[in-house]
């Protein structure tokens, strides 16, 4: 009996201290798709964010307080993401928001953040015009296609010695945008455009396109596609016996992609914002930490979640108080040393200064060929 009451009082003590601890934590809201078609990627991003928080808390937290993540499932849908944001701000009283993965969902959350004057940082959404809406509380630490194209065109033209390039993109805003951006920048460097073709999402047979490609006699072919379409395209490309150099944007150079394409992936180039094989010391430490926690190497989204959370936590520390307004002002002065370069923000909240990399797949591993910091837009 005596023992029992001791246990009870101990438990009570814990409860009280946990409560006290909860009151003192700095709460950050995270909205990511945890179910639905991009759940896998959303989860990777959350894992990255959790890792950043664990690391921070192990080192004493920020402002002497522990950091607590409140994670909501936005499903990549505007309506769900807005609900999540309302809940996080109103009920959980978070001091900053991170998310919401898909550009359309992020665009929907932006006015909510603006209304409640809570800083909102997206580490993934790449639609160019998000930072052009005059929002005062929105920041983005993701690469836009514009930025990728500007940074890579020169490297591509030099490294691959291209004279003429054919462009293939998926038939949507992103694919068409990518083809337009890269062709414009490469043409400015004197690389001739010999073909521009698009294919619909879910297309399975690319032989007609490849026939045209062969007839165009291009030195290189640029491809804007995601894993599924891209892997089939590359497979058929090799079946077709083409030897043109391939380079692309999208979720290339991922383990999934290489698994699907098999040997056909050998030698292709991919322009990606992050690769776990980046040589810097800071990246090696991050990869080790991430691999230990999740038994796999970090990909683009794991790194994006990690970086975005660190940028927010740095801003809280710099602000000196866990108040949204102060954090927003501190975010503007961001100079964050990431595993992949140094992040800074323009006045519009557009991130730049981080590295993007060109990798080549050999022996089923993406190897870094070139690395370059994104310039201020």
């Amino acid at each position: 009996m005596h023992k029992w009451s001791q246990v009870m009082s101990l438990a009570g003590l814990f409860a009280v201290s946990a409560l006290a601890g909860a009151q003192e934590t700095v709460k950050i809201g995270v909205i990511e798709p945890l179910t639905g078609s991009v759940a896998y990627n959303g989860l990777a991003s959350v894992n990255g964010a959790k890792l950043a928080v664990e690391q921070r808390n192990a080192a004493g937290g920020v402002l002497g307080r522990k950091v607590e993540l409140v994670i909501e499932d936005g499903q990549c849908r505007p309506a769900n993401s807005v609900n999540a944001a309302e809940k996080l701000v109103q009920r959980d009283k978070v001091v900053a928001l991170s998310g919401a993965f898909c550009s359309s969902a992020t665009a929907a959350v932006m006015p909510v953040a603006e209304k409640y004057k809570v800083p909102f940082l997206s580490g993934v959404s790449s639609k160019a015009d998000l930072t052009e809406k005059g929002m005062q509380y929105f920041f983005r630490s993701a690469e836009t296609d514009r930025l990728m194209s500007r940074t890579f065109s020169k490297i591509l033209a030099d490294k691959l010695q291209l004279k003429s390039v054919a462009y293939i993109g998926v038939n949507d805003d992103w694919g068409r945008g990518g083809v337009e951006d890269f062709s414009k920048d490469l043409e400015a460097l004197g690389v001739k455009t010999v073909m521009k073709e698009y294919f619909d999402h879910g297309a399975t047979d690319f032989y007609t396109l490849l026939t045209k490609l062969r007839a165009s006699k291009a030195d290189g072919v640029f491809v804007a596609a995601e894993t599924q379409d891209g892997s089939i395209l590359v497979k058929q490309f090799k079946e077709f016996g083409l030897k043109t150099k391939i380079f692309g944007v999208g979720s290339w150079a991922t383990a999934d992609f290489i698994g699907l394409t098999g040997d056909a992936s050998e030698g292709i180039y991919a322009a990606v914002p992050y690769a776990s094989s980046l040589p810097s010391e800071r990246n090696k430490a991050f990869v080790e930490l991430y691999s230990k926690a999740y038994k796999e190497k970090p990909g683009k989204y794991g790194a994006a979640g990690y970086n975005a959370m660190n940028i927010l936590l740095d801003a809280v520390a710099r602000a000196g108080k866990a108040e949204p307004e102060a954090i927003r002002d501190a975010l503007r002065k961001t100079d964050y040393a990431a595993p992949n370069g140094r992040y800074r923000f323009t006045d519009k909240g557009e991130g730049y200064g981080f590295d993007v990399v060109l990798v080549q797949i050999s022996n089923r591993e993406p190897n870094v060929v070139a690395q370059s910091a994104t310039e201020k837009p």
């Binding site: 078609s37 896998y40 038939n171 073709e197 698009y198 294919f199 619909d200 879910g202 297309a203 399975t204 047979d205 032989y207 007609t208 396109l209 026939t211 045209k212 007839a215 894993t227 599924q228 892997s231 089939i232 497979k235 079946e239 077709f240 016996g241 999934d256 698994g259 699907l260």
Partner: protein, 290 residues
Amino acid sequence: MELLPQYLANGLVTGSFYALSALGLTLILGLMRVVNFAHGELYMLGGVMGWWATTRLGLDFFTGLVLVAVVMGAFGWLVDRFLIERIRHQGEEPGILLTIGLSIFLANTALLAVGTAPLKVEAPISAGPMFLGPVVLTKLRVFAVLVCALLIVAAWLVIHKTRLGRAMRATFQDPMAAQLAGVRTANVYAATFAMGTVIASMAGMLLGSIYSAQVAIGGLVSMKAFVVVILGGMGSFAGAVAGGLLLGVVEALWGGYVATGWVDIIGFALVILTLVFRPYGLFSKRAERA
């Protein structure tokens, strides 16, 4: 012009794939008068099971294909006996609603079970290039076209040359008379649906080895299959083959000489033209059923 042979070859290859993927749909539609909106999902299940059989169970392609056919045949049989049976002879709408519901159920169950990632079905032969004069093909594609032809012929033989096939045709001409003549119509319906399911799933596995199998493909497959069926006419074998080849070749030429970006338009343009000028399809006899 020197690209024309290649475009035609591309079109004929994809066209025969279209024909095979539409065959199960046209059978069920023509013989049973059930508009099977779950057709694409049955195709998808064939691909997913093919992946499972060849990579998880380690079977070779053909053993896997037989396994898929047997399992999916049983599945089709059960679907007819337990689901379609209940709405038989109640007009078209219940059938449409039922198969739409079935398609949603199958797609989401598969999503839960294997996730969204594309799956690789191990191919029976290598996919290296094969040059025939100016035309590039692969052994795998030629092989797949042959298998398509074989399956189509086999299905035709079953329907036109076997006792079961005779019973099927009799049942769908006049169920009452067939029943009076001693045909077990319930079994015939189930066998027809099972056959359609088997053909759809075998197509899914075969084409999964060339492209890749994925859970979300069902809707697209159904769409193309409907285009082929409308072009060729319901229930017509020759129609399915001709409709498939026509769609494949026209898409290839459109993609080759106009733009690959809007290739799906052409299928629907063909459908609209067919519906306006030959509403029963290019090959259908006007009244198949008394």
